[in-house]
């Protein structure tokens, strides 16, 4: 490998350096930037032409001088070391050890950008993951190899929910454990600590790899953090055959960093100042979830993002929703009613659910029951809107039954404890308990044979 060192820095603007081109430079290659005391940091080439090179530094440019800064071109794309020893370790966003221990010993370095998976070689995900949380298992089922984000707001318990999923996630009738890869982008130390403690308490810490770029780390480091984490996840899944659950929090911070770099480079912004390629960029992360034919492992992604001002039409949740296979939306109103997990029933969705539930996978009545619950809860919302205008007294008997159903749905079905782990059968039985309170003619989405079996024979 030829290393070329270059002086000739022309301009420093935030994390972006402009230098004269006086060496053979490749697009996207990694550079090492040295200040006058020979302290170094990592960067990469963003664009290059005959005269100049634009470099983005994944660190802090404060203190760099035009005269004494030198840049070394490494001639390779950005890589991280991978190996079985990653398990149980904590790294920073660049893949360097963050827990005081030495770098893992391996000769295997992987390009963090990954490559697009050939769509033909993908295996369609259809294995049901039981999270033990009724609203997720019952209504927005998580499937192994899915990317299912949590859309949250500031102050909502998304971290608690993510931790509970990570702790309880299991395949039905299987003992295989999930390996967790955690990417923290711009999160506070206490958030990271919460997850570490949680994993420690449930005794899975030795099965967790963490990539942390804390809130005080340079913002551009966040651009690499999820890529490093996903590269590690791909290694664990496809090389070692593990089932990997990747938790990425908070995607909003990642997008902010992307906007920062784009603005500094003077690129033409699209919505709300985010770059036009935000969709493609997010897709290059989310699409790394999945399964491969003839490979044992899988990557399931749970990205967490906080919706600015709880606005689901904001570009970040909006574009995310277009890429991911559904979303779990947390609702402030439910949270204020003291419902945990405050998952909004209607806007939440799991696109892969249809092929992962039903007979042989969960239970035969699952599809109909979930569809019926959605329909009934939608009706509840309508009736509540009506009741707030005309008053509950004016409602018909049926409408009042719906209101009771709505309250039960929120307090019994949605609500559960942080440690409570319900089986899918318990979840569905609970659903029947609720549906029982409505007249049978209202259960129009459920096949008669299930009504016979679960309503009459069982009850």
């Amino acid at each position: 490998m030829i290393k070329i060192e270059s002086l000739g820095l022309k301009k420093i603007e935030g994390p972006i350096l402009m230098l004269e081109k006086n060496a053979d430079v490749k697009y996207d290659e990694v550079v090492r930037v040295f200040d006058e005391k020979r302290n170094s940091q990592i960067g990469k080439v963003l664009s290059v032409n005959e005269k100049s090179v634009v470099v983005q530094v994944f660190g802090n440019t404060s203190g760099l001088t035009i005269k004494d800064t030198s840049v070394e071109f490494l001639g390779i794309p950005m890589t991280i070391p991978v190996g079985r020893d990653m398990l149980g370790r904590v790294f920073n966003g660049l893949g360097e050890p963050f827990d005081g221990l030495p770098q893992i010993f391996t000769g295997d370095y992987r390009d963090v950008n990954g490559a697009a998976l050939n769509p033909y070689i993908r295996e369609y995900p259809r294995d049901f993951i039981q999270t033990g949380i009724s609203v997720i298992d019952g209504l927005t089922t998580l499937i192994r190899g899915q990317k299912l984000p949590i859309f949250s707001g500031n102050g909502l318990p998304h971290n608690v929910l993510a931790a509970q999923i990570a702790r309880q996630a299991t395949l039905k009738n299987a003992t295989e454990e999930f390996t967790v890869v955690f990417a923290g982008m711009g999160v506070k130390y206490d958030v990271a600590k919460y997850f570490i403690d949680n994993f420690e308490r449930s005794g899975v810490l030795s099965n967790v790899v963490m990539y942390l770029s804390l809130a005080d780390a340079p913002s551009v480091e966040r651009l690499l953090t999820p890529r490093a984490a996903l590269t590690a996840a791909e290694y664990l899944a496809y090389d070692l055959g593990m089932h990997v659950l990747v938790i990425m929090t908070d995607m909003t911070n990642y997008c902010e960093a992307l906007r920062e770099v784009s603005t500094t480079r003077g690129q033409i912004p699209s919505r709300k100042g985010y770059p036009g390629y935000l969709y493609s960029d997010l897709a290059s992360l989310y699409e790394r979830a999945g399964r491969i034919k003839n490979k044992k492992g899988s990557i399931t992604q749970i990205p967490i993002l906080s919706m600015p001002n709880d606005d689901i039409t904001h570009p970040i949740p909006d574009l995310t929703g277009y890429i991911t296979e559904g979303q779990i939306v947390l609702e402030r109103e439910l949270f204020q009613k003291n419902v945990y997990p405050p998952v909004a029933g209607l806007p939440s969705l799991s696109r892969l659910m249809k092929d992962g539930i039903g007979e042989g996978m969960t239970r035969e009545d699952h599809k109909d029951v979930s569809s019926q619950l959605f329909a009934c809860y939608a009706k509840v919302k309508e009736i509540r809107a009506l009741a707030s205008v005309i008053g509950e007294e004016e409602l018909s008997d049926l409408d009042r039954k719906y209101l009771d159903f709505g309250n039960d749905f929120e307090n019994k079905f949605l609500s559960q404890g942080y440690e409570e782990n319900r089986t899918i059968e318990a979840t569905l039985d609970l659903a029947w308990e609720l549906l029982k309170t409505l007249p049978e003619s209202e259960l129009y989405r459920i096949n008669n044979k299930y009504i016979q079996k679960y309503l009459h024979e069982k009850g």
């Binding site: 050939n118 769509p119 993908r122 369609y124 033409i268 919505r271 689901i312 599809k367 939608a378």
Partner: protein, 587 residues
């Protein structure tokens, strides 16, 4: 003048690369860049400096890398072997690449779009001495059990007499099957530029619907064969599910499904499902008439831009054989975003929301490639384009939706609140429209003489319900008179028992036009009888007690397409039940 131009890379900014010494290269020519010979296309020429968009991941490309052009535009290879294939945006065969290139799409891997080795049984239909011109069919290959693939004289060939034509013989696509007296050698496959529409004789006016088996579409907002439609909707409203349903059940001969900047797993879903779905008419797997173009969101953005042209060019090729082709483009917004991204890198002046000013022109060019035409062989062929649009935040006032609306004539607006209540297909009956209703009315008259009037009345009920719903929101349903509550009841029945259609229910997933019209008549007969009975003073509660409503709501999944006489009988049943009820109230 040499046929090869060689230049040197001088500037790299993401997928946009500039090269010098490109004086003799042509606009839109294909180039190969660097050691890995990554595929690119010249999109701008400024004296000897060419701006190139690269269709593959170009990390580690360097200044000084060689650029080679063979002075040929970006083309697709058209010939037997296309069907059942899955391609990326520049027609690289993904199945073949998975065998030779591994699980990931690495830059620089190459494979022939259709097999050069496979032998097809060529059957001639022209004979020696026949005068042939561009587009004339000279033979065929039975490519799949569903599709006879005709071999035509390529469009840019001069007309002449056939000097030689092969007999019934197994040939590869590169072997000559005919020679003309002007020296032209005809092979089974030929290249055609993706950005140049293929010629045809003339455009015809449309007169037949593309039957999709989806009741809300066929009955209320039909698309004609050769028509254009858009499906806009925010995420989670079921665009892709609707597109899949159309790809499965529409009565086109060929389906080209373009997954443009969408999810990888969705393409896998199609690949897994289609071989197992059986065409209701021919009893053959639907995959045998399908071609997939998959340029998922994480694949290079420039190839996403070109993917819809690749798809439409393949569609035109089959149209020229006299087939009805339907294109599903999912999603045109991702394509527009690719345009925006590339335009930004070219530092062009942006128009609305950063999209380039030529966005509407490009959209128009694309949708204009749809149509019903007369082919060179005096047959009819058509391309219908159904484009999904993904407006940011579900807001239809954004540029892509707005410009698309100018060029399509059928608008299936997906509604978030319907999707939230899991009412699929979530096509809003209030915001959607179709301009084809008039052109294809003869067809529906042929199915049932008065179905068009029945449909109009059903539509009126849905519109009236919308207004009543506003009142109900204020005062509650109990304060309405029975006649208006009947409207609410019937509208609800129309929604649950007609407009809503389950893609997973064996019986309900596809409705023939016959079943569609009868089912609508069942519901409307119930309405007419109820209305008459109410006029006699019967309270609505008595009508509810007949127990018909729940039954009618479930007819869609209890009566199969082959047993439509059950629906006819049901109309009599309604009449009987009401006659009985009326006995009490008649004086």
């Amino acid at each position: 003048m040499s046929d090869v131009v060689k230049g040197i890379v001088v500037d790299i900014d993401g997928p946009i690369v500039k090269a010098i010494n490109m004086n003799t290269a042509g606009m839109l020519d294909v180039v190969y860049v660097g050691e890995k010979s990554l595929v690119g296309e010249i999109i701008k020429l400024d004296r000897g400096k060419a701006t190139i968009q690269i269709y593959e991941e170009n990390s580690m490309m360097g200044i000084g890398d060689e650029v080679v052009s063979h002075k040929r535009p970006l083309s697709v290879l058209l010939g037997p072997g296309l069907l059942e294939g899955i391609y990326d945006g520049i027609q690289r065969p993904l199945m073949e690449l998975s065998r030779t290139g591994g699980n990931f799409l690495l830059p620089g891997v190459k494979a022939d779009p259709i097999s050069f080795d496979k032998k097809w049984k060529f059957v001639p239909i022209a004979k020696k001495g026949d005068l042939v011109s561009a587009g004339t069919k000279i033979g065929y290959v039975d490519e799949t059990a569903l599709v006879r693939h005709f071999i035509m004289i390529p469009p840019d060939t001069k007309s002449g007499k056939i000097d030689y034509i092969s007999g019934e013989e197994d040939k590869t696509v590169l072997e000559t099957v005919a020679k003309l007296d002007n020296g032209a050698e005809i092979k089974m496959a030929h290249y055609w530029s993706v950005r140049k529409p293929r010629p045809y004789k003339e455009r015809l006016s449309m007169n037949r619907p593309l039957i999709t088996g989806q009741r809300v579409i066929d009955m209320f907002f039909p698309i004609a064969r050769g028509g254009t439609a858009a499906i806009p909707g925010g995420f989670g409203t079921g665009k892709t599910m609707t597109q899949h349903a159309l790809a499965k059940w529409s009565d086109a001969d060929i389906i080209v499904y373009i997954g443009c900047g969408e999810r990888g797993n969705e393409m896998t879903d199609v690949l897994n499902e289609f071989p197992h779905l059986i065409d209701p008419k021919s009893k053959q797997p639907l995959m045998k008439r399908t071609i997939l173009i998959a340029n998922t969101s994480n694949m290079p953005v420039a190839a996403r831009e070109v993917s819809i042209y690749t798809g439409v060019t393949i569609a035109e090729y089959f149209r020229d054989m006299g087939y009805n082709v339907a294109i599903m483009a999912d999603s045109t917004s991702r394509w527009a975003e690719a345009l925006r991204e590339l335009s930004g890198r070219l530092e062009e002046m942006p128009a609305e929301e950063g999209f380039p000013a030529y966005l509407p022109t490009r959209l128009a060019e694309f949708y204009e490639r749809a149509g019903l035409i007369r082919t060179a062989n005096d047959e009819e062929g058509s391309i219908s384009i159904i484009g999904a649009v993904s407006p940011p935040g579900g807001d239809f006032s954004e540029p892509v939706t707005q410009h698309t609306k100018r060029f399509i004539r059928c608008f299936w607006a997906l509604d978030k609140s319907l999707a939230n209540a899991r009412h699929y297909p979530s096509i809003s009956w209030l915001d959607s429209y179709s301009e084809y209703n008039d052109e294809i009315k003869e067809y529906w008259n042929g199915v049932d003489a008065d179905i068009l009037n029945v449909r109009a009345e059903a539509m009126t009920i849905l519109k009236r319900e919308e207004r009543l719903a506003q009142i109900v929101k204020l005062v509650g349903p109990d304060s309405l008179p029975d006649s208006q509550r009947l409207i609410l009841l019937v509208a609800d029945l129309l929604k649950k028992g007609y407009l809503q259609q389950s893609a997973f229910d064996e019986v309900d997933m596809y409705s023939t036009p016959k079943k569609q019209s009868l089912l609508l008549k069942v519901i409307m007969n119930f309405y007419w009888s109820s209305e008459n009975t109410l006029k006699l003073g019967t309270p609505l509660i008595k009508i509810r007690e007949l127990g018909l409503v729940d039954e009618i709501a479930k007819l869609k999944s209890t009566v199969s397409n082959d047993n439509t006489e059950e629906l006819e009988n049901y109309i009599f049943k309604i009449k009987d039940k009401f006659d009985e009820l009326m006995k009490f109230y008649k004086v």
